[in-house]
Symmetry: C2
Subunit: 212 residues, 2 copies
């Protein structure tokens, strides 16, 4: 897949952190790499069917990215935030990795937004709360750009739609990546649409934090 | 209706503002009064049918509060935020009043949350963005407490559910009121459930900002 600079938001705080801290830079590289490596063919390109609006499910897109993070970079899935565990509120963070050590933790949370725009606000706020409570030292949100979202599940949030709100992220170490497919193909024979719902999920065991 | 202290969040910034600024105190009083005055009988009490889960629509609850603000305190409905008008993103603020004058504006926005928890995050962020852009000098969010929400539209957000996120409001002049009914009545004869959907809306003209 592709990540263009104009669809990448790096907060001033994240920028400073990456200049000072190698682990922050590493987290950024691993996530960006996971997006770039996500492909549908052997040449490393990601092609999506564009025969009609909303014709693709989003889960297979997400799975490719998560799988890379789990298998190549040792990230975990579904990490409950300590604060939420106590408060019995809110779900776990989608993907999570502890880069530092016990004495010097550097924990990073990532959410892949597959819901509507309201849901994107909740994901963003969940990550912000994680930072505020020092459960996370840095946070990432990844979502499709508008052009790609047009061919994904109906009403899925897109980067441009959330962008006016990035102002609220300025004082937090926060990065948002908007990603795009490399190629669009209207032909269903050469590029079948991604299945919707959970059908696109592989049956393999995911690397859940609770089994850690 | 009732507003208990334990279901009232006043950010440190809002507290300071109300100590220093009479207009902030007035905005707080008018909104609190609009909730307290919302009633279903002549004695000034608000009674809701509690015969089963999710049996009431929420629009009539909202209408009573908004009507008071419009008719008794000269608030307006549906104020577009200047920033969003430029960016062509996001909807207007539900209820709005300019307390100050041209040289010294003190504009206040209020949202009554009638959607699910994700939608509540969006409302909260919209108000925060309004403050950040100085379109608003203070913001209010009002929502039912959990006990009352049980009898309102399915999945409507409640105060307790959003409360862990109030930490994100600390540096903004922000107030959240959780309201409750005065009485619960299981009898549909004496207290008919509120109609759902838009049926509960009165046909009168609302005081829209665009007609101002």
């Amino acid at each position: 897949m592709r990540v263009l600079k104009k669809f990448t938001y790096i907060s001033p705080k994240a920028k400073n952190l990456m200049q000072a801290n190698e682990l922050a830079k590493q987290a950024f590289s691993e996530i960006k790499e996971a997006i770039l490596k996500n492909c549908t063919d052997d040449s490393g390109k990601f092609t999506i069917n564009s025969s009609e609006k909303n014709c693709n499910g989003v889960v297979p897109v997400k799975e490719g990215i998560y799988r890379y993070l789990e298998e190549c970079c040792e990230w975990f899935r579904e990490k409950p935030l300590a604060y939420f565990e106590n408060a019995k509120k809110g779900g776990p963070i989608d993907v999570y990795k502890e880069f530092g050590d016990k004495n010097n933790p550097f924990s990073v949370g990532l959410e892949f937004e597959t819901g509507n725009i309201s849901s994107a606000h909740r994901s963003m706020n969940k990550l912000l709360l994680g930072i505020q409570h020092e459960d996370l030292q840095m946070a990432f949100l990844i979502m499709p750009i508008k052009k790609l979202a047009h061919y994904l599940t109906d009403r899925i949030a897109n980067y441009e739609e959330l962008a006016p709100y990035f102002l609220l992220l300025e004082n937090f170490p926060f990065v948002v990546f908007g990603f795009d497919a490399d190629n669009y193909d209207e032909n269903k024979e050469t590029t079948p649409p991604f299945p919707k719902g959970k059908d696109g999920m592989s049956q393999r065991n995911i690397r859940k934090w609770q089994n850690h």
